[in-house]
Point group: C2
Chain length 382, copies 2
């Protein structure tokens, strides 16, 4: 396999972007990623998108978006793995460059969620329709069950959940692209309305519009494009049962664990080597479960990592310096690519007020459903 590098990136701000259509969002992010590049050299495009058909009545996004960029003719494929669609698209692009079939692949993620669809119902099509949704459960309920299980078996408290949100909003307040650029207090979180007990509004990521894009090339050619390429050193993906009830322990995200192990193995690293990570905090409990599954809190309790500052900017291993899904926003198809952009900027020393000093190796983890799919990438400054 050829070594693969990310050489540029672009993203829209995330938020309720009522003035922008899906194709506008994609075009803005992709054009930013292609700035200064001869776009005619793009060999292939992958678009991560969960539910364009349901959200805005538009499937077949590959050719639509290639054309939007003026790249009519270029192969363009949409990839879907629910909220892990962006990570899955990145993996396809990585494999295409690694194979030698293509020398320049644009990977984008996009979602337009605020155009009037019943968002909770659309998102629920990522859960098992026959075994879960038909019974009336949607994702806040599923993650509430995960939280209850975690509290029951590990003694995790509601305050542990609050701290994840407080930390991520603190990070997001420093991110000009974040949907919520403001801090929230422990009291704000604790007194926000209950959505599905024990999860409160400020434990939940928002409904968002947005797009993100990165450009991949063989590492050996990366310096034609930038002085600061970032290598994709490892890529791992895994699945689990779509139905939460079929897992041995609802609070153990086995697909996250397997995808992390595969990515670490391909990269030839251990969790100890990871300096920072963007993980899938669709609900605050998810960040805690993911840190455990990726073994990223050696020596401390994952539930206490936010409270103690371990996972905060300035701490031993900053997690979700972008603000995470909670504060940055969660346009579902875009999230996996936006995570990569945060690590890309951190490793290049371009993260501004959020900069983790000396960062040279980071990880992204993107998840679909209640953890039924997970994609992990290991990124390294070269």
């Amino acid at each position: 396999m050829r070594a693969v590098a990310v050489v540029s990136a672009g993203m829209t701000a995330f938020g309720e972007l009522w003035q922008s259509s899906l194709r506008d969002l994609f075009g803005d992010a992709a054009a930013a990623a292609l700035r200064g590049v001869d776009a005619m050299r793009v060999d292939s495009i992958y678009v991560g998108n969960m539910a364009g058909g349901q959200f805005v009545g538009q499937e077949h996004l590959g050719p639509l978006l290639a054309d939007q960029l003026g790249l009519r003719g270029v192969p363009a494929t949409r990839v879907e793995s629910a909220c892990a669609s962006g990570g899955a698209a990145l993996r396809c692009g990585f494999l295409e460059v690694a194979s030698g079939a293509s020398d320049m692949v644009l990977v984008a993620g996009v979602e337009k969620m605020t155009d009037g669809a019943d968002v909770t119902a659309v998102l629920a099509t990522a859960a098992d329709q026959e075994q879960e949704v038909y019974q009336g459960v949607t994702f806040p309920g599923l993650y509430a069950m995960i939280a209850r299980a975690h509290m029951h078996t590990r003694g995790t408290t509601e305050e542990d959940l609050h701290w994840v949100s407080v930390k991520n909003h603190r990070h997001g307040a420093l991110n000009p692209k974040a949907q919520f650029r403001r801090e929230v207090s422990l009291h704000d979180v604790a007194s926000s309305s209950l959505v599905a007990a024990p999860l409160r509004l400020l434990h939940c990521s928002p409904v968002s519009d947005g797009a993100a894009a990165v450009l991949l090339v063989p590492l050996e050619r990366a310096r034609e494009f930038t002085d600061k390429p970032v290598r994709i050193r490892g890529s791992g993906m895994a699945s689990s049962s779509l139905t939460l009830a079929e897992r041995a322990d609802p609070a153990v995200l086995d697909a996250v664990r397997a995808s992390g192990e595969r990515a670490y193995r391909m990269a030839g690293i251990t969790p100890r080597d990871v300096q920072l990570a963007e993980v899938h905090d669709c609900f605050s409990i998810a960040e805690i479960c993911v840190l455990e599954a990726l073994d990223l809190t050696a020596g401390v309790s994952a539930a206490e990592a936010a409270r103690t500052g371990y996972s905060a900017l300035g701490g031993e291993r900053p997690i979700n310096t972008s603000g995470g899904l909670k504060s940055k926003g969660h346009p579902v198809g875009a999230t996996g690519v936006a995570q990569v952009i945060e690590i890309f900027e951190q490793l290049r020393g371009e993260a501004g007020a959020r900069q983790v000093q000396g960062a040279s190796l980071g990880v992204t983890q993107n998840m679909g459903g209640s953890g039924a799919s997970s994609v992990v990438h290991v990124l390294e400054r070269v």
Copy 2:
């Protein structure tokens, strides 16, 4: 890039399969493809599916279907490019094996279309919502315009269209998996009801349920699985404008042409080397346009290829020996994979009454929308 081979295949019959759910269909096809194989060796799964979210309320098919096979944990990604979803999924699987990242990839396509959704409206989400569907046009109308343009510039007649249907039903009558296993006469086609002039009911592929699956491995290991591997010698994909009106000539399928040229180039062949092909006859006019775009009727008119027997079983270059989408059926996400299965069986000498004697090299062409995406594969007996 490593050479890649198809070593086994499985598919359901196509039809209105009201007793089977989407996961049943997938499970049946995939289990048939995995018969005699240690399924625990599957490294990755790709699922081509156009609109599970809209047809049956289920996105996130990757993990759902991996679990259905007892392969919980295996990476599983859904790929969508409208009616070219199956071909696009095959391309992703091909690239993953070619890259060296995986040694066994299951590629499946599935669609469940008869569960009550408004099929024409769902399919229309593969056209441009803003520029086409909002104006009231759906695919029969778009292909009718393609037919009119073809008649206008090339003198193609309605009878030319009829002959494509007559030929494909003659082939499909020999295919135990076909939805319509019966011949139709020229008079049947000419007197069938008008759908969108000049297209009649018997120029249109049907609404179908079905699934198809193939197993890919590196060519160098193929003989561990079969004495008759089939190599994927070329893979090409291309896009065009989603909107038909933006193309220079509506009857010229430029994405088909580009995808064919790319696949021929990778395979190191010319159209003259192609002995048989499965092409995307969603409407009869499409077969004629595709044969032109792929340059598969050297010396004869593509419009007359069916009438003269050139493209019939026993002719110089049999096209759609499976019965094509018209007679075999068109469960949209499954079609691209089912095309590969027909060529796979032909090259192995296992096509029964449809066998093309001495077939050693064939092509598949799978298309999305009114030709906005196209995927071509070149398959060879080794």
